[in-house]
Subunit: 474 residues, 2 copies
């Protein structure tokens, strides 16, 4: 086995420049879904890349939103892997980029060494192109792949994958042929330790708004002179009171009726994984990276982790009303808006969330507060540690001489449930060696050199090889 | 008397073009104090204008902020009028101006006719220049003024007159020579009815802020990924709870201890004035102008007026935190800020406000919420209807064949207390016929023609003549 890998790995090493170029080619084609920039051109490019590596079929599948790039590679193998990818990115209009975000430049970034700094480098056009490089290298050496591949590259992940269910519905019979879903990422932390997440939380994202227009009180059309507060109601004050009914005083326990009803408590396996995880969980590094002084109630270790991974949350991402510039302006604002989300843990369902909040507001007399759904949302998804594909992933990492840190779930969200839930019922895994960071921020990066504390592009591609062969044997 | 006015009025009519030019000259010199644009040039221009109309002395008095233009006109008269003015304006960078805001253009604006549309046209460079025109016209006809004048034109009214107390302190002995303070305005409503306000409310303007940095909980330096809510405190939720303790559920009664303790209840004179006022108070027009459907608790007539004029308020002018652009971004924000003000009614004092709020927050366990004073504030100020200068103002309006509507106070704020309180103890009046609007907004205007429902520039100047002569006789 070692020898077998060695040939492919040698091929990967020898093609480094070429492989880096494929990554750069994909990065240089902007595909910013929130601003609708370059989407179709990028979809065409991804389609071409699928054909380049030998897919028998690759095409753009239209949806009500951005097209999904769908491709198939038939190796006449026993197992079929559905490779879920995304070709869209967040905008790159923030200040502070040290290189132009779509130039695809590699710079020396201590302590990592050669690093590609670009929008999409890490999330996730870098890993996407690296996976194609890996497939090409296997074929070059062995003439055939160990598994059949179905590629689903969506263009709306940064918009909440809003039309992915439409695609899945339409391509159900094709997708059902897969045995497992794999999401290629670069999952090492800054120190080079690979992290495996066995699941994701779900999310529902919405806005709450109170306007004088809908309320029938307060200013209705525009903010008016602040002195009018003396005889005119304030939508802002009213909204503050509505929000304040939703949590305890510290903001940490949600008081919405039924909110915690379906929440699954950590099971035996979860507790086992937590106990294992806490052995290597580096609490101080997390606090340093996030620049926080303490976790809620100053919890530590396993208690902090349990809270982080198994609690559903109600978060205010943003809130705004009235005059928010420098200095003073007296104003009685006519409306106030908050962007909020609920993160769902296993057994909670997206469709329950907004009715629950509506009921809570009505019950407390705030019928005038409007709820506006912004994203259709994802359900939570979890895999068992014992699942054979999870074990295959772990084995692949170990074959690469790394010891993974295994998290029962990540606290963030991804659309895995769309494949994991009926009708597809696909098991899923995500991973890959290598390291990137600053997703959604200036100077997003993917380490490409191998000299630093983390793996680079070559190791990332090699890890995908190991993952595919271990899936084949699972 | 009629004959006597007639000569001066004829002079004003004949000089219309010249007078309008003086107004335009002042408007065309930007003097935007919040953005520090053109302030000193405008102060110099105002000084020159004081000298032009025959002041024996005019100069810029330096303060720690913008200069006060101080001027004197000695007519060897019995009475001395302190004319309080401001030469600064709000910015004009809003969208929607139909003419450039510093071009000083006169356009036809139905139903008013010829109207000057410009930043400062109404608030208050228009009335300032018009007053100088009136003074010049009197001198041209009679060779002398009926009163001595002391001019105080400040350049920081839009910044809360923050250095005016410094000037008053320094020029105390000069200012004490005045018998009354007069603030020239254009006080007709849209239908041409002149409104006299016998007072102003006071104001204290401040920001409340809760940051993770100061709290020691939540994100401290920047917003972090929203999934962290599961194990990290939210300054936003905490702040919502802090705010919610401050008012009743409807936002209308302030629950801060001692808030209402010093509030003076409407006295006999107030009630008399309210009863008179309600006879002409046009509730529906007010609601239409403000685009509101009802007053608080759907109050009407005298009850609504009593609430409007005699209630202190705690208002949220603006509030903001986290992600407030289009679409979705998950974020756990590190701080939240609200711009707030308290309006003070008679007997309340600016210096009591912030300690009261500090005490409230501490008492409710919100020591981590910071208070940042933005404006030193004004105390409330009131004049009795029976005061001889108030009577002189009313008589002047009546001589101009208009019947004023008399309001015990306005719900807004102005720095009259700085002159009315010790050490100066000056009575004050404000007024003038004519109409303007959209102060602080795009297309601020002052009606200059006389054909429409309101008075124009000529009548405004004539009303100042009548006011000065009536003050002389008071």
């Amino acid at each position: 086995m070692k020898e077998f890998y060695e040939k492919i790995f040698k091929e990967i090493d020898s093609k480094y420049e070429e492989h880096l170029k494929r990554v750069q080619r994909l990065i240089r084609q902007p595909s910013v879904s929130p601003l609708n920039i370059g989407i179709r051109d990028c979809a065409e490019l991804v389609k071409d890349m699928f054909l380049e590596i030998g897919c028998s079929e690759a095409r753009l599948v239209e949806t009500s939103g951005n097209p999904v790039v769908f491709a198939k590679y038939n190796a006449n193998a026993e197992k079929t892997v559905l490779v879920y990818m995304m070709y869209d990115t967040m905008p790159a209009d923030e200040e502070g980029w040290i290189v132009p975000p779509f130039e695809g430049k590699v710079i020396d970034m201590p302590p990592f060494g050669a690093t590609l700094v670009a929008r999409g480098a890490f999330n996730t056009k870098g890993p996407l192109a690296a996976f194609l490089n890996a497939v090409e290298a296997i074929k070059e050496v062995t003439k055939e792949l160990p598994v059949n591949l179905i590629f689903v590259a969506e263009g709306e992940e940064e918009l909440g994958s809003r039309h992915l269910p439409e695609f899945i519905q339409k391509y159900q019979s094709e997708l059902k042929k897969a045995d497992v879903l794999f999401f290629p990422t670069a999952s090492e932390n800054r120190r080079g330790k690979p992290i495996i997440h066995l699941g994701v939380k779900g999310i529902v994202y919405f806005e709450l708004e109170l306007s004088g227009e809908k309320w029938g009180k307060g200013p209705t059309k525009f903010g008016i002179h602040g002195s009018n507060k003396a005889w005119i109601d304030s939508p802002v004050w009213r909204f503050i009171h509505a929000l304040s009914t939703m949590t305890t005083n510290d903001g940490n326990k949600v008081l919405i009726e039924s909110f915690y009803d379906k929440v699954a408590v950590p099971n035996e396996e979860d507790e086992y994984l937590l106990k294992e995880l806490v052995k290597t969980f580096d609490e101080e590094t997390v606090k340093e990276q996030l620049q926080i002084k303490q976790f809620i109630d100053d919890k530590h270790g396993i208690d902090a982790l349990r809270m982080y991974l198994f609690s559903p949350t109600l978060n205010i991402n943003g809130i705004w009303s009235g005059y928010i510039q420098e200095g003073t302006k007296t104003l009685l604002p006519h409306k106030i808006t908050a962007k909020m989300d609920v993160r769902l843990v296993p057994n909670m369902r997206t469709e329950d969330v907004l009715p629950m909040i509506r009921k809570h507001l009505d019950k407390h007399g705030f019928k005038e507060v409007e709820i506006r759904m912004l994203e259709v949302g994802y359900n939570p998804a979890r895999m068992s540690y014992k699942n054979k594909y999870v074990q295959a992933l772990i084995k692949a990492i170990e074959e690469m001489n790394k010891k993974p840190e295994i998290w029962p779930t990540i606290a963030g969200s991804a659309p895995f449930s769309m494949f994991h839930d009926p009708p597809l019922n696909l098991p899923f895994i995500e991973g890959g060696l290598g390291h990137g960071g600053l997703a959604h921020s200036p100077n997003e990066y993917l380490v490409v050199g191998e000299g630093g504390p983390t793996s680079g592009l070559r190791t990332l591609e090699k890890s995908y090889v190991a993952i595919l062969y271990n899936i084949a044997k699972a």
